[in-house]
């Protein structure tokens, strides 16, 4: 156990915690954007307004988790960062386009005062990029786990498509992208049931959506497993053989079933907790799967780590930062995420600029 607590491992874990937070908070913002796209039924506009209200005050703060993960990655594991950005240039660039469009479209839409065609078009850009971006995020995660990045790095003589396109477009990796999409949609729908507290029809809308998304999550998970057996045999090997695999998958399964049961019995706050646990366990499962590598097939955490001085200094910054920022973050969430719910805030209009 003691040899697990090395400085590089601790910083790798810090990156993971940051990614986990990004998935839990930012991922739900993406998922909410998908539900904006799929808003249906008599309460369609009302669903959209709830979504905007729920995302509004916090998307900036949620977004910084991603930036933090990137920054710690390039300070503490520079060769890994360089390899990822080189080999995954195309999907990462596309993901950036998605991030830019989504963030700006969301703000442009709410800054624009008229409810006209222009504003609806921003809504469309926002929701389409909310679909597009997580897909690419999932693809990058899949490309790392399956060893595709490492394989691409060896193809120095290959053609452009051979090195920069083909490696990350295997059916398995695309499956991971779809899985990520379904997962974010599920998470968002569950959160929105809580945001809609105080208004039952709306809550029911999102409850149905959450249950639908849960089915999609299971379907994608099954499909990826099959695809990995066919196309990336190395992947299933670790999935099944690492000593952590079985207990972790068991826990994930329990959380997933718990979330669904809670939804069925309309215990929405319990469902939120269980869904959060489920998604966190998936993120940690992904990480333990590639551990002790940072890029499987090419670099281990040890090999990629910066000198101890840099790691130690970064760790101190992270610790001090956490002491200042976690209470601030809690304050933000307390102001906006406790009662009244986003639904009740719809009435509290003058609270905004």
């Amino acid at each position: 156990m003691a040899d697990l607590l090395t400085l590089p491992n601790v910083l790798a874990a810090a990156i993971l915690v940051s990614l986990q937070a990004y998935v839990l908070f930012g991922g739900a913002d993406f998922g909410a954007g998908m539900w904006d796209l799929l808003a249906r039924g008599p309460r369609r506009e009302f669903q959209r307004t709830l979504i905007a209200k729920a995302i509004g005050p916090i998307w900036e703060a949620n977004h910084v988790w991603f930036v933090l993960a990137v920054v710690v990655l390039f300070s503490c594991f520079p060769p890994a960062f360089a390899m990822l950005t080189t080999e995954l240039h195309v999907p990462l660039s596309l993901m950036l386009v998605g991030i830019v469009l989504r963030g700006t479209a969301f703000v442009f839409r709410s800054a624009d005062e008229r409810r006209d065609a222009v504003q609806r078009r921003w809504g469309l850009v926002f929701s389409l990029s909310s679909v597009f971006t997580p897909l690419l995020l999932g693809i990058c995660a899949g490309a790392i786990a399956s060893g595709a990045v490492a394989r691409a790095a060896q193809m120095t003589g290959a053609s452009f498509t051979g090195r920069f396109i083909v490696p990350w477009t295997s059916p398995f990796i695309l499956g991971v992208g779809a899985f990520t999409l379904a997962l974010f949609a599920f998470l968002a729908a569950v959160y929105l049931t809580v945001e809609a507290e105080g208004h039952e029809p709306l809550q029911e809308d999102f409850r149905r959506r959450a249950l639908g998304a849960a089915v999609a999550v299971f379907a994608c998970a099954a499909a990826t497993l099959v695809l990995s057996r066919r196309y990336d045999p190395g992947m299933t090997h670790t999935l099944v053989n690492s000593p952590w695999a079985v207990p972790l998958q068991l826990l994930t399964g329990i959380a997933a079933v718990g979330a669904i049961l809670a939804l069925v019995t309309r215990r929405f706050r319990v469902a939120r907790l269980a869904a959060g646990a489920q998604v966190s366990l998936i993120v940690w499962g992904w990480a333990l799967d590639i551990f002790p590598s940072i890029i499987p097939g090419a670099l281990t955490i040890m090999e990629a780590a910066s000198p101890a001085g840099t790691l130690r200094a970064t760790l101190i910054v992270l610790a001090v930062g956490a002491v200042i920022l976690l209470p601030s973050l809690a304050y933000l969430f307390r102001i906006f995420k406790s009662r009244p719910s986003a639904f009740e805030r719809l009435e509290d209009l003058s609270a905004d600029v």
């Binding site: 910084v64 930036v67 920054v71 390039f74 300070s75 240039h89 905004d352």
Partner: protein, 455 residues
């Protein structure tokens, strides 16, 4: 266009785009805090209106700043992985600190923008102060990383790899103090004059509007001190360049030969073929004095390095002339406004000064872009001065012109939209501007099948 050139262009375009929003992200929060503080002190509701207006502008601009900054953090690796692999461990510290400054800013911006009625006025003002602080700190930390690129320290080279790395050295590079000071002042001066110019324009149309008079006052309170100090700090920066990067100094002054008593050249065209700067107004001994405070000192010229290692001298020299010229103009207008204020004459009633302020509105931004061209292009062919060449740091991916053009189009499009949205903000008359997107959104929701009020 070669891949290296495309990568450099994409980096330059992305940074040049981001810096505009970054500066506004530093300056606007200070403006809104000053306005809100004045409101609490004087009870004048117009100050509150101003704070809310600026806060709304900040929402739009901050979003663009945040996403374009995110692009940059990955782009450093996407375009120059060799640089990140080399320097990551050394510039990681300022960037990690910057990450926390972003967090601070992002969190309290949420509190500020959406918390008008949810927290006490004092707590609200406090949140604004933290936003302003987070903005300045982000700027300072990231410029530290750049200062390290200009004057790298804290490591030794052994067989082409950096060893004995001191992770805190980037915070102490010789270039840190002049660059961060200069950049922070640039942000305040540019935003302040930008905002002042807009309100000066509105006052030229109708100088009786109380709203625009107060706005002009707040904006100038921020811009004037910064603009007056900027040439002095610029001189300070130039002396550091003379010490740490003599070839950059030579490029920005168009100094091709090494000589004693080098003249200061104002304007002119550096001719790379003939290795001389023609048509400049020369002040004898001026450069030697400015750089070393000795009119006789020796200034090293570009002849000290091989021709192939020259940066594009005309670009650097002209960018420098533009920055200095605009800097003096802004300092002059600032002193003029200060002089009127000292004599208690309303600025809003001097049409000449108002026009001078309108003219100054874009100048800070132009000077800043020019300043960065001086810093970055003047460092070529090095990405890390004297240690790592840009050509050795670029990504092996071919076809870089495609992402360059793609991101350029995206940013052009965003710029157009932002200008359009802000115009609607500014031109809306104060009284009718209270409707907000959420309110109309919620009303729309109700008419289309949502519950009636209180559901």
């Amino acid at each position: 266009m070669s891949d290296l050139l495309a990568a450099r262009s994409q980096m330059a375009m992305s940074l040049g785009f981001h810096i505009v929003f970054a500066m506004l992200g530093i300056g606007l929060p200070l403006l809104m805090v000053i306005a809100e503080w004045r409101h609490l002190r004087t009870g004048d509701p117009v100050y509150l209106e101003l704070a809310k207006r600026w806060a709304k502008g900040t929402t739009i601009l901050f979003a663009v700043g945040a996403v374009s900054g995110t692009v940059l953090s990955l782009e450093l690796g996407l375009l120059f992985p060799g640089f990140m692999k080399f320097a990551g461990a050394m510039i990681g510290m300022p960037f990690s600190l910057e990450g926390f400054a972003f967090f601070l800013e992002g969190i309290f911006l949420g509190v500020y923008l959406y918390g008008w009625k949810r927290i006490s006025p004092r707590a609200h003002l406090g949140a604004g102060v933290l936003v302003a602080l987070g903005g300045v700190m982000s700027g300072i930390f990231v410029v530290m990383a750049n200062a390290w690129m200009n004057a790298p320290t804290g490591f030794a080279m052994r067989d082409g790899v950096p060893v004995d790395i001191d992770p805190l050295a980037a915070l102490r590079s010789a270039a840190v103090l002049p660059q961060t000071l200069h950049m922070t002042l640039a942000a305040y001066a540019s935003t302040g004059f930008g905002v002042a110019g807009i309100h000066a324009f509105m006052l030229l149309r109708n100088n009786g509007v109380h709203f625009h008079r107060l706005a002009l006052g707040v904006a100038l309170a921020m811009a004037v001190p910064a603009a007056v100090a900027q040439p002095l700090v610029g001189d300070f920066a130039a002396r550091f360049v003379a010490q740490t990067q003599p070839m950059k100094l030579a490029a920005l002054e168009g100094q091709f030969i090494t000589e004693r008593g080098a003249p200061l050249r104002i304007g002119g065209w550096p001719d790379m073929e003939r290795a001389e700067t023609r048509m400049a107004l020369e002040i004898p001994g001026g450069l030697s004095w400015l750089a070393y405070r000795d009119a006789d000192a020796e200034v090293r010229g570009l002849d000290q390095v091989p021709r192939a290692d020259w940066p594009p001298v005309p670009v650097v020299h002209i960018a420098f002339q533009v920055m200095v010229a605009l800097g003096f103009y802004m300092a002059f207008v600032a002193l003029w406004a200060a002089w009127r204020a000292v004599r208690r004459r309303p600025i809003a009633e001097h049409r000449g000064l108002l026009w001078a302020l309108v003219a100054a509105a874009p100048m800070g931004f132009i000077a800043t872009e020019a300043g960065w061209v001086v810093t970055e292009v003047g460092r070529q062919p090095w990405v890390v001065q004297g240690v790592l060449r840009t050509a050795d740091a670029v990504t092996p991916m071919p076809g870089l012109i495609v992402p360059f053009l793609g991101f350029t189009l995206l940013y052009v499009f965003l710029s157009v939209v932002v200008v359009y949205l802000l115009r609607r903000q500014v031109t809306a008359s104060p009284a009718s501007s209270e409707g907000d997107g959420h309110r109309t959104a919620a009303t729309g929701a109700r008419t289309s099948g949502g519950p009636t009020a209180h559901g």
